[in-house]
């Protein structure tokens, strides 16, 4: 497979994941806002920006401006509209490599969000918009799984999706742990309860958590669930497992198994597989998640260096 094609598929997938993640977070925050006093609500916007590593986290924040930055701004490369436009542009350059159904779905999603204008009326029904973005992304991945060969190209799509997810999940939780008290292994109530439920919802994990630990919200179990659960698709461990799986298949297909991405991803996977939440908390969740983000960035650079943009001199020498 051409490096350029692999690169485009990888980035397309990353951008789409980022758009979906942002849509989900903003949606959850808007819902939560309804349950809170205006002052607390306004304060929360800053947390949202921190969790997304978005610009403008400092200074006064008002809802309209913020909505514009996170959703519509083309100068913010991570806004929902920018992400979807970039994802589509990446796929457009490699259209012949994906199924026409995939292209049609992403193109449709793009046309839908491009038509949306941020006005008063939109603010009132924005929930529908965020739902549509999330569903559009889910549908795209469903179509991809059903219509595209699960070969090398498909693996780069998985890789992009889960590298992005690892990074966004770790960022979100890092911001969360920084401002909350040390998680305890007992049920919490009122304001604190809302905070932790919001975190679960931001990771689409509320229902799955309840199935595992009942509706009793115990912060330590929430942290464990979101970091270490091997079965839930929006946990850090699950995402890192998927990265490993994709890298192994790609390694086999390209006969470049022993190289660095597999090693770094394997190391991260081992950490997540054998860590206990109590240990993580004792050392500090913040530092642990910082490390996860660093490793995911290292995996990204290694993929780039081995598959997309390798130095030609060493290739010719070998």
């Amino acid at each position: 497979m051409l490096s350029r094609v692999a690169d485009s598929l990888y980035w397309m997938s990353r951008y789409l994941e980022r758009a979906e993640h942002t849509a989900r977070l903003v949606d959850v925050e808007l819902q939560l806002w309804l349950d809170q006093s205006p002052e607390t609500g306004a304060g929360r916007w800053r947390f949202l920006l921190e969790g997304l590593h978005a610009p403008g986290a400092q200074g006064a924040v008002d809802a309209t401006k913020l909505m514009n930055t996170l959703v519509f701004s083309r100068s913010n490369a991570s806004s929902i509209v920018s992400c979807i436009a970039t994802a589509r542009e990446n796929l457009r350059h490699v259209r012949e490599q994906c199924s026409s159904e995939m292209w049609e779905q992403l193109n449709r999603l793009y046309l839908d969000v491009m038509q949306t204008k941020p006005d008063e009326a939109w603010m009132l029904k924005s929930h529908g918009f965020f739902r549509a973005v999330q569903e559009g992304a889910h549908l795209f991945h469903g179509i991809t799984d059903a219509t595209m060969s699960h070969g090398e190209g498909w693996q780069y799509i998985q890789l992009g999706r889960y590298v992005e997810r690892t990074d966004t999940l770790a960022s979100l939780m890092e911001a969360h742990f920084r401002r909350t008290a040390q998680p305890v292994d007992q049920a919490v109530e009122s304001a604190e309860y809302l905070e932790w439920v919001a975190l679960l919802r931001s990771c689409m994990a509320f229902e799955a958590y309840c199935k595992a630990h009942t509706a009793e919200i115990r912060p330590l179990r929430v942290a464990e669930f979101l970091i270490l659960n091997p079965e839930f698709p929006h946990s850090v461990r699950f995402s890192v497992d998927r990265i490993n799986a994709a890298l192994h298949v790609i390694g086999d297909l390209t006969e470049r198994r022993a190289k660095s991405p597999t090693r770094i991803a394997g190391r991260l996977r081992a950490q997540l597989s054998f860590s206990q939440i109590e240990e993580i908390m004792a050392e500090g969740a913040h530092a642990y998640l910082e490390n996860v983000r660093g490793e995911s960035a290292a995996i990204h650079s290694a993929i780039h260096e081995i598959y997309f943009d390798y130095p030609i001199e060493t290739e010719l020498a070998s």
Binding site: L2, H93, E96, T254, I312
Partner: protein
């Protein structure tokens, strides 16, 4: 077949008659209301369809094109440049005996043109004998000095050719122009067929039409047969399609052909040259490339050798080519043979190399570099069509009968400034064929572009792209100038013996 039905469907009775019968040859009718033998079944079907049904089927076909994104790009217009290539539902039918002649004629022509290219880039016999003026060849915009003395595999310079044919009023075919550089449009031929099969399934079977679907396969076989001699994998050479990228007008076709052939669609930035070997950058490392079906013009292929400002090409590609380590199809510098002034000499070229008369005649052509011919042309501009010799796609043309005095003055000045750069031809009345216009059937002018492949053997896929001048009365069929296209049916005769021509090629 009642008179009213005829007038409804074919709009012949009203004074604003749209199905015009004029001097041009009519593909369907021998005389008003009397269809030619091979059109009878189609004529009957059309009469049997209520106008509403015709409109519905046309809409269904249009929708298919839209959904599949079968589009082209128009240059020089600012707003939304992606357009659907309009497709017309009524097929154009060519009887078997006419096709046989076309096939022989085009094979002869392309064989001679390839010998001509070899000759002018080597000994130049035809120039020494004075049959084609030396200065005409050397002054050609597309003549590439760099190609002197360079040998190409099998001595085939042009392996993919799309020749434009027109039918003149007496019913015979003539060659309007040769496209020997990077001819496009073949994807529309295949797309038209796919859509027509859906819209008229039964008629299709009853008629006995030769299939065209094997074109991508034949193209791949042609490309592979041209692999360089010192290629490591002569049996399985790595073949790729080089595209200028998404913004090229024929990008859809590039993706389509690459997909159909199962080869990589590559941009210049995916390739690199080291020690005169071309590699593509893949996720599994660098992979050597043997044959490049390039859809990039000569000028943009290699910044070290041709235009230095190109970012579409590959630095060092020409040296690798010269070293014989990679094949480019078509070869570099083939544009000299489809120069519209050189075109005028093609019948002599055929005679010189093959000692045969041209099977398909040329259209009469006046060279503006010749004093007496120029004098005649300038006096008769309102009757002639003037074309710039190095242009294609319907750009840079003057159509005398439809021009204003002002336009004629402008062209006159241009001709006098650069006589070598222009030719003139009589305004041809291209043949007419029935087309669906607003749910009725009207006549429009058409031409025909069959595609010829030349490698180990010659392949003409029976059919081609019939282009339609959809604007009423217009004679310009180019897609960039408001043209459309229709499916082209070549009929089988009796038994179904293999149609694909297998004619051995002169040379290695």
């Amino acid at each position: 077949m009642t008179a009213t039905a005829l007038s409804q469907q074919f709009r012949v009775s009203s004074s604003k008659a749209s199905y015009q019968f004029d001097a041009a040859y009519d593909e369907m009718f021998e005389a008003p209301g009397v269809p030619r033998e091979h059109y009878q079944a189609l004529h009957k079907t059309l009469l049997g369809l209520p106008p509403e049904e015709l409109r519905k089927r046309q809409q269904a076909a249009d929708l298919t094109f839209l959904h599949e994104g079968i589009t082209f790009t128009v240059y020089g217009s600012k707003e939304g440049t992606e357009k659907i290539f309009p497709n017309d539902l009524v097929p154009r039918i060519i009887p078997s005996n006419e096709w046989t002649k076309i096939e022989r004629g085009l094979t002869q022509r392309l064989t001679a043109l390839n010998m001509f290219l070899r000759d002018i880039y080597h000994e130049g016999r035809i120039l020494s004998e004075g049959l084609v003026p030396r200065e005409l060849v050397y002054s050609c915009k597309h003549f590439r000095r760099e190609m002197r003395g360079l040998n190409v595999p099998r001595d085939i310079y042009v392996s993919i050719c799309g020749t434009d044919l027109v039918r003149v009023p007496d019913g015979s075919f003539a060659v309007l122009e040769d496209n020997l550089r990077v001819p496009s449009g073949v994807s529309y031929m295949l797309a038209n067929r796919k859509v027509l099969k859906r819209v008229f399934p039964t008629m299709f079977r009853d008629y006995g039409v030769w299939p065209v679907d094997h074109y991508p396969q034949a193209l791949l076989a042609t490309l592979r047969s041209l692999a360089p001699e010192n290629c490591n994998y002569r049996q399985d050479p790595t073949t790729i399609l080089l595209t200028p990228g998404v913004s090229n007008s024929a990008y859809f076709e590039h993706t389509f052909l690459a997909q159909q052939m199962g080869i990589e669609l590559v941009e210049g930035r995916d390739l690199l040259v080291h020690d005169n070997i071309v590699y593509m950058r893949t996720t599994a490392g660098l992979r050597r490339v043997d044959v490049i079906y390039r859809r990039v013009d000569d000028d943009f292929l290699d910044p070290l050798c041709f235009r230095p400002d190109t970012i579409l090409g590959v630095p060092g590609l020409f040296n690798a080519y010269r070293a014989g380590n990679v094949t480019l199809a078509n070869a570099i510098g083939t544009g000299v043979a489809d120069d519209k002034a050189v075109y005028a000499y093609v019948p002599q070229i055929i005679k010189f190399y093959l000692s045969e008369e041209a099977i398909l005649p040329n259209v009469p052509t006046y060279l503006m570099s010749d004093d007496s011919q120029r004098k005649y042309a300038l006096e008769n501009l309102e009757k002639l069509v003037v074309k710039a010799v190095g242009e294609s796609g319907g750009y840079g043309m003057l159509i005398g009968p439809q021009s204003t005095a002002e336009q004629r003055e402008e062209f006159k000045a241009r001709i006098l400034a650069e006589p070598r750069n222009y030719i003139a031809q009589p305004t041809l009345s291209l043949s007419r064929a029935p087309c669906v216009i607003d749910g009725g059937v009207e006549s429009r002018h058409i031409d025909l572009r069959p595609y010829i492949l030349m490698g180990e053997k010659v392949t003409l896929v029976p059919g081609g792209l019939t282009r339609v001048a959809l604007r009423k009365g217009s004679l310009v069929v180019n897609s960039s100038q408001g043209g459309g296209s229709k499916d082209t049916w070549v009929l089988r005769e009796g038994n179904g013996e293999d149609r694909v021509a297998k004619i051995p090629v002169i040379g290695r």
